[in-house]
């Protein structure tokens, strides 16, 4: 476990809205090392989701620098950032965000095909699905036919398929009951124990308790 895998230096994000400029992040400095499990907490509107989107390369900072595995993302174009999202970042959303037109299996396979330009012939997709508790019969179903917990499991498998350096979770248990939440958190915890860097946004202290480190953000600043 060595070296920062994520590093933010003076990251500022200002949204230009018709009603005036809104500063969502106001000079964030943050360093996350490889293998860490970090929870970002804070009241709603504090900027925690904006911070996660910055780390996930879904958005660019207004000013400041974001380094992923030592590389400054400022110099990357949209194509490079998209490729980074595909290969180095696994995203887990509160609303699962599976593709409704694809089966569970295909949802997991999708990023694999995007990266390797061929269907998975290594058995990795099936392996990930069974590891996460989705059997072969279930994996043929469309997301709409699965429960919330099952969908989130599929989403975790999808996030892992390209073996990313970082796993980003945005309220991963926000739409799940407490029993299922525990199961999902245990999966994440287990993944972290095997060395995966995880950054998770949550407002639930019980969920945050799984993390090694808790960062609190308020009014766009880490406190």
């Amino acid at each position: 476990m060595s070296g920062p895998v994520i590093e933010l230096k003076g990251v500022k994000k200002v949204y230009n809205l018709p009603s005036g400029d809104v500063t969502a992040l106001n000079g964030v400095d943050l360093r996350i090392d490889e293998g860490e499990f970090v929870a970002i907490m804070g009241p709603s509107g504090s900027g925690k989701s904006t911070l996660l989107n910055q780390i996930g390369c879904l958005d660019r900072p207004t000013s400041g620098d974001l380094f992923l595995a030592g590389k400054n993302t400022r110099e990357m174009n949209d194509h490079d950032l998209t490729y980074l999202r595909l290969t180095s970042i696994g995203y887990i959303f509160q609303k699962f965000n599976l593709i409704p037109l694809l089966s569970a299996y295909e949802n997991v396979e999708y990023p694999y095909i995007m990266k390797n330009r061929k269907p998975d012939d290594t058995g990795r997709v099936q392996h990930l699905l069974s590891m996460i508790g989705i059997d072969e019969a279930l994996s043929a179903h469309k997301p709409g036919e699965l429960s919330g917990g099952q969908q989130q499991r599929v989403a975790i498998a999808r996030a892992l398929v390209n073996d990313p350096a970082i796993l980003l979770c945005d309220e991963p248990t926000g739409n799940l009951d407490s029993q299922t939440s525990i199961q999902i958190m245990e999966i994440l915890s287990d993944l972290n124990q095997r060395g995966r860097t995880i950054v998770m946004v949550t407002h639930n202290p019980e969920t945050a308790a799984y993390a090694d480190r808790i960062i609190t953000i308020r009014d766009g600043k880490i406190v």
Partner: protein, 404 residues
């Protein structure tokens, strides 16, 4: 189920998900393709059919008196009732023509006049031709009866015979009794149908000997037209040039026409008409394009969130664009393929109905409209699908993910 290209799979599944909507959008393309292909085929079949008919007379030339560069069609027989004395071909001129033509084929003179005729109590008008009796035997085919032997016997065209209920033995009174003496002739034969022709249109005519004609109208040794039948079609131009060189040496006295100019003129008229009507049919494709555009915009708008997900998990802009272009392409290609199959069937019926024959339907020039209309239909789909696809590809992932 999953093809090699997952982007194509997504596009195909979305088309299937909104099956009814997709079918209706593709139907527009089907209609457009059928309209363009059928009309194109009708036009070509008409042209081919007319060309075939006209090529029967490709070995024929007509020589008419020069009328100051007048219209090419007006020079035909029966075209002018009152002619100046100048507007004739003289015996000497005919001798010259005959001499030139001698080694290539035959030349014969034609006198013609349009006049009032009376059969029983019915009156009408007809063209009266005066020809050499030997030529009548050689050129014309009598279906019932015989060839005229005396100066008072004639043969008549089948259309005229039918219209005035003429039979072998019927009597026709030629001339207007109010204007002068009339001549009564006897029908001895009814001709076979010959169709419209530039040299001699006999279907609505009365054909008698030159003597009968000059007996009624005078003008001995003055001909309205000389027709030439050339044995070898390759000599048509040579004959034409030779006659023009000989007779029009000092000044233009005759006009020599072959069927090629007439053919050109008819073909170009037909093709102009076809293009025009096809442009109208093109409007139906334009309407189809609007409906494809609408469907594609709907598809993009209702999938904003999905686009956001795809972008977030690492799908490039170009791939999102490709997904929607594929979707439009599927609608276009399915529509175009069904349209082309339908246009073969519908086109056949329309061609048969409008042209009267489907002999040329499978000719290359005719069938070419099917792939052409297909390409236009599919192409229009891709073009109209491009804008919505581009819109989709430039969506901001975060904004898109926020959509419900």
């Amino acid at each position: 189920m999953i093809t090699k290209d997952i982007i194509l799979t997504l596009a195909a599944r979305n088309v299937r998900l909104h099956f009814m909507r997709s079918v209706l959008a593709a139907l527009g393309i089907v209609i457009g393709v059928v309209a363009i292909a059928s009309i194109g085929m009708v036009g070509t079949n008409m042209t081919l059919s007319v060309t075939e008919e006209l090529s029967d007379m490709a070995n024929k030339l007509t020589v008419t008196p020069y009328r100051g560069g007048g219209g090419m069609m007006g020079g035909g027989p029966g075209g002018g009732g009152d002619q100046d004395d100048e507007d004739v071909i003289t015996e000497d001129e005919f001798r010259d023509i005959e001499r030139i033509v001698a080694k290539y084929g035959i030349a014969y003179t034609l006198m013609s006049e349009s006049d009032q005729i009376e059969v029983g109590s019915e009156t009408g008008r007809a063209t009266i031709y005066g020809l050499d009796p030997d030529i009548i035997r050689e050129i014309l085919i009598v279906e019932t009866g015989e060839y005229p032997k005396s100066t008072s016997s004639v043969v008549v065209g089948p259309t005229l015979a039918e219209r005035l209920d003429l039979k072998v033995g019927s009597k026709i009174k030629i001339g207007d009794p109010d204007e002068g003496p009339t001549t009564t002739v006897r029908v001895v034969g009814i001709l076979e149908e010959r169709g419209m022709s530039m040299d001699l249109s006999t279907d609505m005519a009365i054909i008698g000997s030159e003597k009968l004609f000059t007996g009624i109208y005078g003008g001995e040794g003055e001909y309205d037209q000389v027709n030439i039948v050339v044995d070898d079609i390759n000599n048509v131009d040579a004959v034409k040039t030779a006659i023009e060189d000989e007779l029009n040496r000092k000044e233009d006295t005759v006009t020599v026409q072959d069927s090629s100019r007439m053919m050109e003129s008819i073909t170009s008229t037909l093709s102009t008409m076809t293009t025009f009507v096809m442009a109208i049919a093109g409007i139906s494709l334009l309407v189809a394009a609007v409906s494809i555009f609408n469907v594609m915009m709907m598809s993009v708008n209702e999938r904003v969130r999905e686009i956001g997900i795809l972008r977030a998990i690492g799908t490039q802009r170009g791939e999102v664009l490709r997904m929607f272009v594929y979707e439009a392409g599927i609608l276009g290609i399915v529509g175009a393929v069904i349209g082309s199959i339908a246009s073969l069937a519908i086109g056949y019926v329309v061609v048969f109905g409008m042209v009267g024959t489907a002999d040329y339907f499978f000719a290359m020039d005719s069938l070419i409209y099917v792939p052409m209309a297909m390409a236009i239909g599919a192409g229009i789909c891709l073009i109209t699908g491009a804008y919505p696809a581009w819109q989709a590809s430039k969506l901001d992932p975060i904004e898109a993910l926020r959509a419900e």
